[in-house]
């Protein structure tokens, strides 16, 4: 039986003005199951509001410490409360939920992770996972500018090759991460691309990878109520032989094959 877990906030770190990393002590069960690209569904304030749970990607896992970390941007009521939360507070979690990034067949090709802004969240756990699996991993991080760039060192620590890109060129590569991805795909032997970020970036990843003939998987953020496949709130339009159909981001995703996602709907 799956069950709800409790998470005890043990630490919070402010990375940017509106971006925090929250470290939660939680059950070993949950930690052991967590695959890259999966998410947890957080009840932020069990004693008060907001009503609905909030989905957050699993950012990193520390089995020894028994902790899970989330990387989140403050955008509304729920994340505002999280940002004000103090160590010692308890939240509840469902998870790990959803279908994460695929297990790839063995290959000497590298896996390229592309993260835009907060979309980088699930990629750290993914990078660690790939490193543990002995996969060559390259990470392309995209931020608007140097003062909003982060996480390069966290990724470097996993052993991955890390490229920072900024839109204004104030740090690293000057341009969108997908532009660099395009160059990388032309240059390196890439087996697959995993991406997470704003819809526009994901659409571009799909395009660039499609043109290069490289398989890409992307993580989609949709509004969720149940998080487990019951409410039908979180659908994504997926191409099929007959045309298209809806799949559930919480269960069939959040990671989908980029070539199958129909974006103008999402």
């Amino acid at each position: 039986m799956k069950r709800e877990y409790t998470g005890n906030i043990i630490y919070q770190e402010q990375l940017l003005e509106d971006c925090y990393r929250m470290v939660l002590k939680t059950d070993a069960d949950l930690l052991q199951q967590a695959l890259p690209g999966q998410f947890v569904h957080l009840r932020i304030n069990p004693l008060g509001g907001p009503l609905l749970r909030r989905p957050f990607s699993i950012h990193s896992i520390d089995q020894e410490q028994g902790t899970l970390s989330l990387l989140y941007a403050v955008v509304g009521q729920g994340t505002r409360i999280m940002a004000a939360d103090l160590p010692g507070k308890t939240v509840t979690l469902l998870g790990p939920l959803g279908t994460g990034f695929p297990h790839l067949p063995p290959s000497t090709g590298e896996v390229v992770l592309v993260g835009g802004g907060l979309g980088t969240a699930p990629l750290l756990h993914t990078a660690s996972w790939l490193q543990t699996a002995g996969r060559k991993t390259r990470v392309i991080l995209g931020f608007p500018s140097q003062d909003r760039a982060m996480l390069a060192s966290d990724f470097t620590q996993t052993g991955a090759t890390v490229h920072m890109t900024t839109e204004d060129g104030s740090e690293g590569y000057h341009g969108y991460p997908t532009l660099l991805l395009h160059e990388v795909l032309a240059r390196e032997f890439v087996q697959a691309v995993f991406a997470c970020g704003p819809h526009a970036m994901l659409e571009n990843v799909a395009k660039v990878c499609g043109e290069a003939g490289i398989d890409a998987w992307i993580s989609m953020e949709e509004k969720m109520a149940c998080g487990i496949g019951a409410c039908l709130g979180c659908v994504v339009r997926i191409r099929d032989e007959m045309g298209s159909h809806y799949e559930k981001a919480c269960m069939d995703g959040p990671v989908f094959k980029a070539s199958e996602v129909i974006f103008n709907e999402a």
Partner: protein, 313 residues
């Protein structure tokens, strides 16, 4: 959570009609519990009072475009638009699974015409494992149908009569809260031969995205559910209890056993948990367990001892 004292029976009123037997007074509300499968990972479906499955239509429906849900203060708006595999898809893909459980399965049916309702009822009559029909005259999220039926006493009566005519299954008519006088609509269902009424379906609401200056939901309006609507739902259960004799299945914002007890005391014979499942996947069972504790603590032997007690001075 099942034992004799928790059982609720909704008797079939017509000759030859079957009764609905609920193992406890808590039913998973239609549209919030899928076809049981997903929640089966979090709880033992055999421990539920009943499962009202996602609203069914004669043909498969894709449902509405996204976004389909918006959170509101202690509530949520949904505009799912009855995405479902269609009646045949349900019978083929979902019933084999649901039939493996003892829990009462209630088929929630939505039609655009009276004929669609009767066709679905006729087809379900012979499907093993279906224990009751919930006639959804009140879904706010499809173009025609829904609201138009639920606000019109004659239509509600007609649909009820026609459905009752073609089935021996117990028939529950699900009412919309978006009416001036819900008592009147409930009376029409009763007069049409319904074995029970269930209420409330969602309250019509909307939200606007001030960034885009457009309604958040593509279909503009959606259905409000969750704790925010509880006072409205309780009031309507109270009002309906005063004017009909058939059992009421009460719902709207139930999160805890205390909430459910309010509904029972207001006049409900059983309750449903909808949005609460999204917040707490074991809500249905937690509520049933809580009702059981309350009954034990107060020496009550049957749930029916609570139904409507708040009307006695």
């Amino acid at each position: 959570m099942k034992h004799k004292g928790l059982q609720v029976v909704i008797p079939g009123r017509r000759k030859g009609a079957r009764s609905l037997m609920l193992g406890n007074p808590v039913i998973a509300a239609s549209g919030t519990f899928g076809f049981g499968r997903e929640y089966g990972d979090y709880l033992d479906l055999n421990q539920l009072g009943g499962i009202a499955v996602k609203g069914l239509t004669p043909e498969p429906r894709e449902g509405n475009p996204i976004p389909r849900i918006v959170e509101t203060p202690m509530g949520m708006l949904n505009s799912i638009g009855l995405q479902n595999p269609g009646l045949e898809g349900f019978i083929k893909e979902e019933m084999p699974f649901l039939r493996t459980y003892e829990t009462a399965v209630i088929a929630n049916i939505s039609g655009n015409t009276v004929a669609e309702f009767t066709a679905m009822a006729t087809r379900l009559e012979s499907i093993p494992g279906i224990h009751g029909l919930e006639v959804n005259v009140s879904c706010p999220n499809i173009h025609r149908g829904g609201e138009v039926f639920a606000t019109n006493p004659e239509m509600v009566r007609t649909i009820t009569e026609e459905v009752v005519n073609v089935t021996t299954l117990p028939v529950i008519v699900k009412l919309s809260p978006n009416v001036t006088d819900i008592g009147l609509i409930a009376q029409s269902a009763e007069a049409g031969g319904a074995d029970a009424v269930s209420l409330i379906n969602t309250v019509l609401g909307m939200a606007i995205d001030i960034k885009t200056r457009q309604p958040v939901l593509k279909r503009v309006m959606g259905g409000l559910s969750g704790p925010a609507v509880k006072p409205i739902a309780l009031r309507q259960v109270w009002q309906v209890y005063q004017v009909v004799k058939i059992p009421i299945i009460g719902m709207g914002g139930i999160m805890t056993a205390e909430d459910a007890l309010e509904f029972l005391m207001a006049g409900a014979a059983a309750v449903s948990v909808g949005t609460g499942n999204f917040v707490n996947p074991t809500a249905c069972i937690d509520v049933a367990v809580g009702i059981n504790s309350y009954m034990e603590k107060h020496g009550l032997r049957r749930v029916s001892e609570l139904t409507g007690v708040a009307h006695e001075q």
